[in-house]
């Protein structure tokens, strides 16, 4: 089922053509490299790359921000031919110029910050109408301006108690706790030392800023600072204008970045290449269906190159490549989250899709929300340029919207309002619905075991297939016996238990077999808890409906407010329902995913090694398609 077969490839060639071969393979996107690894990242620390990245970021800061621009970054497409035709231009002088401008702006911004700090300090002293020289003109005494809190004040008083001093709070309008300290000059050094010993630093407010301009009074200094800040701001403005002139080159810079990134990538691969003095070796995988294509594309190198393909040997695990039709393919997202299935097992995407579809539907179970989710997804698919992955994701979301709509319509939920038509009334008969969820879980668990049997048969492990088949027999006949008490089911159960006891182990020793079988039989509790786990579907489904109802209720209450009521009500309705949809989509998605991963996959999933990632052009800004 839908895992492509891959073959091992080895390419040996003359050293001098290694770059041409590498470029060719990269263009064809056909080979998954093992040594050197194609997942290797180029070293982004290369200084020219880093500079370019900074410049691009700097230029982007002048562009207008788009709505939701952070979530949907602009996607630029380049087709392969265009990218190939790209030749590096020398933009180093421009890069340097822009870096210079950017650092000049930063420098000035820093200065503005400093000046603002100074402004804040000096403005605490605006009540003084004299210059610092004048303040310090007393022959024997020194005047200090301090900012002290209550504790510091009492401490200071205590420390200075043996000296002569005057400490007085100043009547400043905007700032409290400003004190003036008057003391004899020869006491000062003494006192300062004493204070420092106590871990207590007196900061003379005046010294900090004022000392630079001792001939001016605080008002004049403020004026100076303000005009300086103004000047710096105009400088920044003109620098920005200058930078904006380069905006049209941003595309070119991005291309250059991508080109250089890809070169760097190729270099890093080349470095890890297995090589002798005259030869190099690529070691990797190709999909069996594209093998001929690979051979053909390398024909141009003639006998300078030798390509060898073979089936994977024992112990070698080929990378996994999932292939599904367009409808099911978006569900691959889930399988990819879990990890690559072993190439010799099967791709669960198709089987998982209907279950997941239904489960998310039940977890949200509101037709109105389904319509909203589907419409939002289609709108994004229609309006936004998306990468292949993005398209898949939103197609996936639109599916979930449809599922929610269908289940919601069946259960009669429309934005939390009861509908005239419903198949089941969950609120009125939750127990029946709980049973229904268990049945769904039971079906999925059995499906999982059937898939295990399929894999075992495919790999010719008939014994294991029999023991799994016995499990199905036991799991079906035992509940039936308990419900209907018909002895046929009892007999079936015994046969099944026998099957499990005898075939769970492949040991030759009969006692060991039965021992292991007994242990395996204990695993029935696991199946029991697996099925119970599906009760979450009911709880989450009810949660959505009730919260939606509460939102309507609140909106109804808001509506009664005179005049503005309708505005409030609309706000609550729109915001509330969107919030409820978002929260329940998240929990619904994760809980349903968990049911796949833990309850379903655990029955049959064999992890492989890696996904098939062909060697291709590595870029950051442009998507090469």
């Amino acid at each position: 089922m839908a895992i492509e077969k891959a073959k091992k490839v080895e390419i040996i060639g003359f050293d001098k053509i290694k770059y041409q071969v590498l470029r060719k393979l990269q263009e064809e996107e056909i080979i998954h490299l093992e040594t050197p690894s194609s997942e290797k990242l180029p070293s982004l620390e290369a200084p020219n790359l880093r500079d370019l990245e900074r410049v691009v970021k700097f230029l982007s800061s002048f562009e207008k921000k788009k709505f939701m621009g952070d979530i949907f970054p602009e996607v630029r497409f380049k087709n392969r031919e265009e990218f190939k035709a790209l030749r590096p231009e020398d933009l180093s002088s421009m890069t340097e110029e822009l870096l210079k401008i950017s650092s000049q702006i930063e420098e000035r911004a820093l200065k503005i910050k400093e000046r603002n700090d100074e402004l804040r300090t000096i403005s605490q002293l605006t009540f003084i109408d004299a210059s610092l020289e004048e303040v310090h003109s007393l022959e024997h005494f020194l005047i200090l301006f301090l900012r002290l809190n209550k504790m510091e004040r009492s401490k200071l008083k205590e420390l200075l108690s043996k000296k002569q001093f005057l400490l007085k709070e100043l009547p400043s309008q905007n700032h409290r706790n400003i004190f003036v300290l008057l003391m004899h000059k020869h006491d000062l050094a003494d006192a300062a030392g004493c204070l420092r010993k106590e871990g207590f630093n007196i900061l003379d407010l005046a010294l900090h800023v004022w000392a630079n301009h001792p001939d001016k009074n605080p008002h004049e200094i403020i004026e100076n600072l303000n005009s300086e800040i103004g000047e710096l701001n105009t400088q920044i403005h003109s620098l920005k204008e200058k930078a904006k002139e380069y905006l049209s080159y941003k595309d070119k810079l991005m291309h250059l970045y991508d080109f250089m990134l890809n070169e760097e990538y190729k270099n890093s691969i080349e470095k890890d290449l297995l090589k002798t003095e005259n030869f190099f070796l690529f070691d990797g995988w190709v999909l069996a269906e594209r093998e001929k294509e690979l051979l053909k594309s390398l024909e141009e190198f003639g006998d300078k190159i030798y390509v060898h393909t073979r089936q994977p040997q024992k112990g070698e695990i080929a990378p996994t490549y999932l292939k599904n039709n367009k409808v099911v393919a978006p569900f691959e997202i889930l399988v990819k989250m879990y990890g690559p299935p072993h190439p010799r097992s099967l791709d669960p995407t198709r089987i998982l899709a209907p279950f997941f579809f239904l489960f998310v539907g039940i977890c949200i179970s509101d037709a109105g929300y389904g319509i909203m989710l589907a419409l939002i997804s289609y709108y994004i698919l229609w309006r936004k340029k998306l990468t292949e992955t993005g398209k898949r994701f939103f197609t996936f979301l639109s599916y979930l919207g449809i599922a929610t709509f269908l289940v919601g319509a069946a259960l009669g939920g429309w934005w939390g309002r009861p509908a005239p038509f419903k198949i089941v009334d969950v609120m009125a008969s939750p127990f029946q619905f709980l049973l229904f969820c268990f049945v769904l879980g039971f079906i999925q668990v059995i499906t999982g075991i059937v898939m295990r049997i399929y894999i075992e048969l495919k790999n010719r492990n008939y014994q294991k297939a029999i023991s799994q088949l016995s499990w199905i027999g036991l799991l079906i006949s035992l509940p039936l016996y308990f419900v209907y008490k018909i002895s046929v089911f009892k007999a079936f159960s015994f046969v099944a238990v026998g099957g499990i006891l005898l075939f769970s182990s492949q040991s030759k020793n009969i006692f060991a077999r039965i021992g292991i079988g007994l242990y395996e039989l204990y695993g029935i509790t696991k199946y029991f808890s697996d099925v119970l786990s599906y009760s979450r579907l009911l709880a989450l489904g009810m949660a959505t409906g009730v919260i939606a109802m509460v939102i309507n209720l609140l909106a109804g209450l808001a509506f009664k407010i005179p005049v503005l009521g309708i505005v409030f009500a609309l706000g609550i309705l729109i915001g509330g329902h969107l919030f409820n949809l978002a929260i329940n989509l998240m929990t619904g998605f994760i809980h349903s995913a968990r049911l796949q991963f833990v309850e379903f996959f655990s029955k049959f999933f064999d992890l492989g090694k890696k996904y098939f990632e062909p060697l291709k052009v590595k870029t950051k800004y442009n998507h090469v398609v």
Binding site: S535, R536, A539, A543, V546, M549, I583
Partner: protein, 157 residues
């Protein structure tokens, strides 16, 4: 007001307060970690957001049970009458599963999500894995919710 009603209202309060405390602690913990990670890697916003939101669901479950209780008692429509003491105790007990399971599971889920945030900082592509692990903890709150729902549903007034 008779004692039956007092007990019932007390139950509703416990459901929303206990679960709310748990969620507040859980979300607070994860939120702090998210901010720390995003200060270095702002591009992790979406995964941090999801991880931070997750321990918040318990509070919603508690809230939900309280609302169902309020509607069951018909408190919005007018004065409530005729709830016996035994009915009051039953309602009180029915509110405990969601409140207590929510309280404890939200705190522990917060811990799982917090470490998940640290993991996402190192492996941004793998952000679904910590989400799945966190949901393991949440399941017990979901069970609490389910039982509270079924119990409330079963109490005849």
């Amino acid at each position: 007001m008779e004692w039956g009603l007092v007990l019932a209202i007390f139950g509703g309060a416990v459901a929303v307060v206990a679960a709310g405390i748990g969620s507040a602690i859980g979300v607070g913990m994860t939120g702090q970690a998210s901010n720390g990670v995003m200060s270095e890697k702002p591009e992790n916003f979406v995964s941090c957001l999801l991880l931070t939101a997750l321990p918040g669901t318990q509070g919603i479950y508690g809230f939900l049970i309280s609302i169902i209780l309020i509607m069951k008692l018909g408190m919005l429509a007018g004065p409530v009458v005729g709830i016996s003491v035994s009915q009051g105790w039953s309602i009180f007990a029915a509110c405990l599963p969601v409140g207590l399971a929510g309280l404890v599971s939200a705190i522990h889920q917060g811990k799982v999500c917090t470490t998940g945030v640290y993991m996402v900082a190192k492996q941004p592509a793998d952000f679904v894995k910590p989400l799945i692990l966190a949901v393991f903890v949440e399941f017990y709150a979901v069970l609490g919710l389910l039982i509270s729902l079924l119990m409330l549903n079963g109490i005849k007034l």
